[in-house]
Structures are given as structure tokens and as C-alpha cells.
Amino acid sequence: MDNVNRLQVHKLSKSYGKVLALDQVSFDLEPGIYALLGHNGAGKTTLLNILATVLESDFGEYYFNGELVETHKKKFRSNLGYMPQQQQLPPYLSVESFLYYIASMKDIKRNRAESKIESILREVNLLEFRKRSLSTLSGGMKQRVLIAQALLNDPRILLLDEPTAGLDPVERRSFRELILRISEKKIVILATHVISDVEWIANEIMIMQNGRILTISSQAELIDKTKVYESYELLDKLKQQDSELKVVNQIRIRDQIRTRFISKHSFDQLVSTTLDDVYLDWLG
């Protein structure tokens, strides 16, 4: 565990029939939280499934700490925590029994599993629900069970696919806090299309479109690159100055309309940029 973890991905490609889901994706990651942003169908889940060794790529390879994963799958899986998209959990099992089931699949010995399950359940605030049937849990609680299972083997790489789908704002906040607590020395890749999930917690943002990674940059860099303006002028007039401007929103205030927009040109009223603006700038 003292070694610095490193994930190197080299030209991963995957297609489903004629649809190219991943197009020569390459990156090099060190410990930190990485937000994988993109529309539905951008290739986020395909990328995570390949990294989780669930799916095989057509081309390319990836290395963990210098070892080719293809040839060291078992070792890699021992270091992996994966949370797939929300789905039905076995309804008959209790929360605790489900975690024991996953522990058996992760080859964790009974004594270790016992203490680990208790500490993780405490961490995700599910200790008092340990005997509850999975079928009776709310969406947020199920998500927490899935996060708990991902953490069972003290993973060095954590892959989270749409982890906050179906959560209310309070649960989203708790989730963000949880991720921040557990992410130390880990490579956490968090795929989502909900900006607020990653705002403030992600060290780096990976923007993905049509199976390609468009950029991997820090939030500050991205925010710095995107210039957002507000103006009460008519949109047609604004477009005369920059035909490629992207409208973020338009709000009617009394008899006037205020337009918020992104532009490469310089306008009078420069306002602060949010991550939503960055998302629109890259993917809108």
C-alpha cells in the first residue's frame, strides 16, 4: 500500500456492432478523485466496465502499477472496488448478509470480514439497518449498500458509475462527504452527468463525448478556460458579435430579458463561471 497507485490506459477501443463506444481512450491517473462527465451514451459506463474487467476491449490495454491488467486480472480485482449503476439487489437477503456474500466473492476471510463489515456499515450510516431486508431499503440506502460493498476489500481503485442516481439533495451531500473521507491514496473514478455530484470534490474532470476523452483538467483550469457573460441586449444582436456563442439561459426581468452565455469573444459583463457552464461549453 505504500507504493503510489497508478493507472495507465492506452488506446482503449470498443464498439458494439457499428456503434463506436470507445475511441482510442488514453490517460494516466494517480491517486485522486476523477469525475468522468459526459452525456448519456458518451461511453462512460463502457469505459468503467472495461476498467472493472467486466467487459473486454477490442483494442488497447491498461496497466495498474506497471502490470498489464489483462495478464494480472486476479491481482487487479483484489485491488478493485466497483459500484455499477443502480440495480435491484437480492431482495431476500439482509444488508449484512449481502455484504458477506460479496466478501465471499472478494475472498475476504471471515474474521476480517466481520470487523470490516461493521466498520463500513458505520461509515455509510447503515449499522442500525444491518438486519433489514434489501427489498425494504430506500434508493439512497441501496446506493450506500453498494458503496459499502465496493469498499469491503480496501480497494486502491474505486470505480463508481452514476452513484448518486435517485438520491435526494441531503443524501447527495452525505455521499460527497463519504467519498472525500474514503478517497485518500485511492484512484476514484466517478462517472456521472450530474455536475453537483463532483463540484468541489473532484481533483480532475474528465470530459467524454462520443467515446473520446475531450480533456482531463482540474476544475480551476476548466473554469478559467470558459468565459461566461450576461447581457440585456437582444440575442440576435449578441449573435451578430459572436455567431458561435452558447446560450446558458435567458431570464425575463420586468420588460427585459437577461441572457447568460458563453463566448470566445470578449463582452462587457464577465460573470463567474460554474461547472455547469463548463459542461455546456464542452458538451452543449
Binding site: 466497483y82 449503476q85 439482509s94 458477506y100 456474500y101 431486508s133 427489498s135
Partner: protein, 688 residues
């Protein structure tokens, strides 16, 4: 509302597919019985008017025996009654009237032209209880689809907000439930009647040839019998559907409700099986859901109601109608209450398993937390029912003969022949002595002396027959004298119906069991999570496969053991017959019984393991219904091939045929090995 409920019901893919599968399944099964080898053989034998002695072990032989004993029994009963009437001690007027009335009825039976009819297919079809199973499955599914899906998906609250009352909704659902089951039953009945008509059966003939109806005074025709049996079974299925509805509503838990309903059916089965006819609680044997569902509805029940001047059908219909009405009203009341109070089909506390052994988790998941395992249990219950309800009708003379013959079973040598010759001589001298005494040539005998001589002389005719048979076999080179009737059934050279039934049932049950298990996991994205773990790939698949093999092994073993026990009930096989390692050259096969059994069981397992693996591969790609339909199609193609070109059917390996043409057997084994290697590669590749 009725129309919209029907439309909604048939938009449910599962209901639509299962309705078609159940209808096709019953149709194909019926076609197979009517056009199968056994029915064709039976009809050929019947047409050839062959003498009884040349017919071996066939249905016709038993039917002819039953027919013979039926004529004999009727005449004897008339004679006995006449003799009693002539005796001075029968002076009681009531007894005399009863005897006279019985004789009138018996003469009426005697005067009826009861012929041997080609009734094999119909009898087998009704005895198979397949219709009952199908209509029961359909009822349970319909209750689920109509009443509980709304509650699980909580759309019931949406309905409550509409102007329609829940009471009306409930009534329309009940009406749809009854109508769909009735339509299914009507279609099945029409199929049976059409097939019977095409088979050349006169549907208006009386059914006195059925053992259970030998002394029935009602003279039911075949058409009435079919209609009565199938509609009583439909009534019972509807009734069970109502019970399921009631229990689920009462317990507010789907699994528990269904389990309780099946427990009730099991209790009914135990009451039906273990209460004797003359027991004081015999009423529980006949007014019994299981009896209506799977029983042959014999004449005893008809007579029981006839004594209170109600025929069985009317009594049954009134009984079911009243009970059904009560059940429906109670469940309606509870349904309305439940719909207001909410419905939960899951218990709050989950099952607790604190183990990190993957094999233990998989074992519990596959065998205990998997509803599909019920299918296996149902088939086992059905096999047990076939075993427990099996009986062979033999005349007293035949039973006596077989008992005497069994004394000489064993090695066929001069010692054995000397033994029977000695017994024959003794019987002969006793017989001749009694003859001369009766004709007045000898002194008067005391009662004891007469009885002792009579006991010795009685087997004389049978002993002559047995000795001739032994000499004939001895001179033909046989080493053993055995009753090999049962061996033909064990080696499945005569009982094609059982082979087909077992093959069909085991294939379908395994398909459902594995497909529901595997598909559920693979459809659920949770499988991706499992695959991303260290043991979630090859180890999990390996454990699962071993568990499936284990279930298949035990399941197949129990089904075939019950079959062997069933045969053992009617024939002598293992007790005092052929030694296990003796060559059965005197019988159908040139193999010893033990060798045959071991090879046959191995081949059975090989075939069913291969089927299991095919289903496993399919289940990861296709929907459960699709897999089951594919496997039903596969089973019927194999059965059809077996009827027309046996060597091209996989069933070739499941009968004595595999001994006959060793090259065909080897070709089949090679084909299965190649198939299994291919499947193994697929499984390993996908689990990397």
C-alpha cells in the same frame, strides 16, 4: 372494464407466452400420445385380432385380462346372488330386495355391449394428469398477473383515484380469471375430442372397459367422461386459484401465500393417498381437492353420491360452486380492505447468512432463495403421484399363477426341473385321488384330509403350464427362469410413454430451474459487480455448475427410482428374480441387469447434464420464456424423431436401443462430447 382487463392481461408478455406454451405443450403431448409408437402398436395388435398368449406385456393384454375378469366377475356375482336367494337362511325381505336389485343392475351391465375399445391413448392422457398441472399453473399465474402485479407496482393506488369502484375492478378481474381458464380448458378439451375422433374412437361408447368403472351403473360414454374429468379438474384449478388469492391477501406476502396454498394441496394429497376406502374418514379421501385435481374420478365416488340421489358431477359442481362463492366473497372483502391499507410482499427482516464461503452462499441462493426450485419439487411430487397411484388389475387366477411361478424363479438347470417335476407329480396324484373320490371310487375322506389334498391338487394346472415353459426355455439354452415382464419396463423397451414423459418433464423442469436462476442474475446488472471481484468469475460459475449437476443428479435419480419402484409394485424385479450380474439373454437384452442399469444411468446423466449446459448457455442470452420455449421445441423434435427415426433422436440413448446398435450409440456419445467441449469453451471464454 372486463375487456380492458383482458386486453391488459394479454399485453403481459409472460401471460401471453405461457398461455401459448401451455396450450402448445398440451397439444403436442396429446398428439404424441395418440400418434406415438405405443398407441400405434396397441391399435395394430387390436386390428390383428391376435390371440392373447402371443401378446406380451402390452396394454392390450392387461385390458383383455381386465375385460375377461370383468365378464367373469359379473357372472359370478349374479350366480352368488342367485345361490343366496335360493338358500333358506336368506329370509330377510330387505336383504332379498337388495340382492334382487343388485342382480337386475348386474344383468343390465351384462347385457350392455361393452367392447374392447382402442382406449389406450385416452386412458394414458387422462392418467398423466398433464392437463391438471397445466391448468393449475395457468390459474396460479393468472391470479398473480391479475391481482398482485397492481399491488407490487402500487398501481392499485392509481386505480383507487379513478371513478371506478374497487369492487367493480375486483369483479372484472375474477370474471377475466374464470373466463381465461375456461377458454384454455375448452381448447384443450376440443383438442382431445378431435384427436380421439381422428383415432377412430367411438365417443358414445360406454367406459365399462376402464377398471374403475367396471361396476358403474351409470354407463358413462367416453365423451361424457372426458368432459366431466376435464371440467372437474378446471373447477379444482379455479378453486385453488381462489385459495391462493385468499392466502396471499391474508398473509400480505406473495411467496407465503403461494406456499400455503401448495401446503394445503399437499395435505389433501396425503389425505387422499393414505386414507383407506373403508376408513371412517373416507369422505376426506373423496371430497378432496387433490382428488378432483389429479384423481381418476372412479365409480366409487359416483356411487357415494348416488346413494343420496345425487350424481357425482352435480354434487361436485354444487360443492365447488358454494365453496368458490364463499372464497370469492371473503377474498373480495379482504381485497378491498387490503387495497386501502397497503400491500407489502417483502418482509422487513432479511435472511441472515454470516459466512464468507462462496459455496454456501451459492447453495442457499440456488436451492432456497430461488422460486424456480419449486418446479423441481412439483415434478418430483408428480412422479410420486404416478408411483403411488399406479396399480395393475389382475384376476385372482393370474395372481395365484404368478405366486406359484415365483417359487421356481432362479437358475434354470436339472435341479430346478427335478424340483418342479416332483411338485407336479405330487399335485397330480392328489388331483387324481380327489377325482376318483368325487366319482365314488375311493372311501369317504374326513374334512381335514380333503382340505390337505385339495391344497396340494389346486396348483396342478398351473404347474403343468410352468413346467412346459421351463422345459421350453431350458431347451432354448436359457440359464435362468425369470418373470421378465418388469425388465422390459425397466429397460424401457416397452414403456415409450414413460420414456417420453420423463424426458419431457425433466428437460422442461431443468430448463425452468436453470433459466430462471441464471437469467435473473445476468439480466440484473449486479452480475457486473460480481464479475469485477476475485471469485465472482470462474469460481462462482464453477460452483453454480456443480450445484446444477448435483440437483440434476438427485432429481433424475429420484424420478427414475420412483419409476423403478412403480414397476416393482406390479412386477417382480429385484426380490426373487434374476441375480443382478446374470446375463439376461432369456429376456430382451444380452446384458446383465446391473451392467445395463449402471450404463443406462450414466447415459441418462450424460444426456441431462448436456441439456443442462445448453440451457445454461442459452439462459445468459435469452429471456426465460424464450429458453423454455426453445427447450420445449427441442424436446418435441426429439420425441417426434424417436417415433419416426429413433436413431436420430437423443432418446436413443435413454432406452434399451443403445445396446442394439453400438455404432449409433457411439456416434451419439461422440456428438455429445463435441457439444460439451464447445459449450465448455463458451463458458470459460465468457468468464475469463
Amino acid at each position: 372494464m372486463f375487456t380492458s382487463e383482458i386486453r391488459r392481461l394479454f399485453q403481459n408478455v409472460l401471460v401471453r407466452r405461457l398461455f401459448i406454451v401451455l396450450l402448445l405443450g398440451f397439444g403436442l403431448f396429446s398428439v404424441n400420445i395418440f400418434y406415438g409408437i405405443e398407441n400405434q402398436n396397441y391399435k395394430n395388435e387390436l386390428e390383428q385380432q391376435v390371440s392373447m398368449n402371443s401378446i406380451q406385456n402390452s396394454y392390450l393384454r392387461y385390458q383383455l385380462e381386465a375385460y375377461g375378469s370383468y365378464r367373469e366377475d359379473v357372472s359370478k356375482r349374479i350366480e352368488n346372488n342367485e345361490a343366496k336367494l335360493n338358500l333358506p337362511i336368506f329370509t330377510d325381505v330387505d336383504i332379498r330386495t337388495q340382492l334382487i336389485n343388485e342382480n337386475i343392475a348386474l344383468r343390465k351391465i351384462q347385457s350392455k355391449d361393452v367392447r374392447i375399445l382402442p382406449g389406450y391413448a385416452i386412458t394414458e392422457l387422462l392418467n398423466s394428469s398433464l392437463f391438471s398441472v397445466m391448468v393449475l399453473l395457468l390459474s396460479c399465474l393468472l391470479v398473480y398477473a391479475l391481482f398482485f402485479e397492481d399491488m407490487i407496482h402500487q398501481t392499485i393506488y392509481l386505480y383507487r383515484s379513478t371513478p371506478q369502484t374497487l369492487s367493480k375492478l375486483y369483479s372484472s378481474k375474477i370474471a377475466v380469471f374464470i373466463s381465461v381458464v375456461l377458454v384454455y380448458s375448452l381448447l384443450c378439451t376440443c383438442m382431445v375430442l378431435i384427436l380421439a375422433q381422428w383415432d377412430g374412437i367411438d365417443l358414445r361408447s360406454p367406459i365399462q372397459w376402464l377398471v374403475d368403472f367396471r361396476f358403474s351403473f351409470h354407463f358413462f360414454s367416453i365423451i361424457v367422461y372426458i368432459l366431466v374429468v376435464m371440467f372437474i379438474q378446471t373447477g379444482a384449478a379455479l378453486f385453488i386459484g381462489c385459495i391462493v388469492l385468499l392466502f396471499v391477501i391474508l398473509t400480505r406476502n406473495i411467496s407465503l401465500g403461494y406456499t400455503l396454498a401448495f401446503v394445503i394441496l399437499l395435505v389433501e394429497f396425503i389425505l387422499n393417498s393414505f386414507i383407506a376406502i373403508n376408513d371412517e374418514f373416507s369422505v376426506l379421501k373423496y371430497i378432496n381437492l387433490f382428488y378432483y385435481m389429479f384423481g381418476s374420478i372412479d365409480h366409487v365416488s359416483w356411487l357415494m353420491f348416488a346413494s343420496v340421489r345425487l350424481d357425482f358431477l352435480t354434487a361436485t359442481l354444487i360443492f365447488m360452486l358454494v365453496c368458490g362463492m364463499i372464497l370469492t366473497l371473503v377474498s373480495r372483502h379482504l381485497y378491498l380492505r387490503l387495497s386501502s391499507n397497503g400491500f407489502t410482499h417483502q418482509k422487513v427482516k432479511g435472511y441472515q447468512i454470516r459466512s464468507t464461503k462462496l459455496v454456501w452462499h451459492e447453495f442457499l441462493r440456488i436451492l432456497f432463495f430461488n422460486k424456480a426450485f419449486i418446479v423441481i419439487l412439483l415434478v418430483l411430487a408428480y412422479s410420486y403421484n404416478r408411483y403411488s397411484s399406479f396399480s395393475i388389475s389382475k384376476s385372482l387366477g393370474q395372481i395365484d399363477y404368478e405366486m406359484i411361478e415365483s417359487r421356481y424363479y432362479g437358475e434354470l438347470n436339472t435341479t430346478g426341473l427335478d424340483r418342479i417335476t416332483k411338485d407336479l407329480d405330487e399335485a397330480k396324484s392328489a388331483y387324481e385321488f380327489l377325482e376318483s373320490t368325487n366319482s365314488g371310487g375311493q372311501k369317504e375322506l374326513s374334512q381335514e384330509e380333503y382340505d390337505a389334498l385339495d391344497l396340494k391338487a389346486r396348483p396342478y394346472p398351473s404347474l403343468i403350464r410352468i413346467r412346459n415353459k421351463m422345459i421350453q426355455l431350458y431347451s432354448a439354452g436359457s440359464r435362468f427362469f425369470v418373470n421378465d415382464d418388469g425388465y422390459d419396463y425397466i429397460m424401457e423397451s416397452k414403456s415409450y410413454f414413460s420414456v417420453i414423459l420423463h424426458f419431457g418433464l425433466i428437460t422442461i423442469a431443468l430448463s425452468l430451474f436453470v433459466a430462471m436462476n441464471v437469467h435473473n442474475e445476468y439480466q440484473n446488472k449486479l452480475m457486473q459487480l460480481y464479475l469485477s471481484t476475485k471469485n465472482g468469475n470462474l469460481k462462482k460459475i464453477r460452483i453454480n455448475m456443480w450445484l446444477y449437476y448435483g440437483v440434476t443428479l438427485i432429481f433424475t435419480f429420484i424420478v427414475y427410482s420412483l419409476y423403478i419402484f412403480k414397476i416393482q409394485k406390479g412386477y417382480t424385479i429385484f426380490n426373487q428374480n434374476l441375480p443382478l450380474f446374470a446375463l439376461t439373454s432369456a429376456t430382451t437384452s444380452s446384458m446383465s441387469l446391473m451392467n445395463y442399469t449402471v450404463i443406462s444411468i450414466t447415459l441418462h446423466l450424460f444426456v441431462y447434464f448436456s441439456i443442462l449446459r445448453i440451457v445454461y448457455v442459452f439462459s445468459r442470452r435469452f429471456d426465460v420464456a424464450v429458453v423454455v420455449v426453445i427447450m420445449i421445441g427441442f424436446a418435441f423434435v426429439q420425441i417426434a424423431l424417436f417415433n419416426f427415426i429413433p436413431a436420430f433422436s437423443i432418446l436413443y440413448l435413454l432406452t434399451i436401443s443403445f445396446v442394439n446398435q453400438i455404432w449409433v450409440t457411439l456416434a451419439w456419445i461422440m456428438a455429445l462430447i463435441v457439444l460439451n467441449v464447445f459449450i465448455q469453451a463458451k463458458v470459460i471464454n465468457s468468464s475469463h
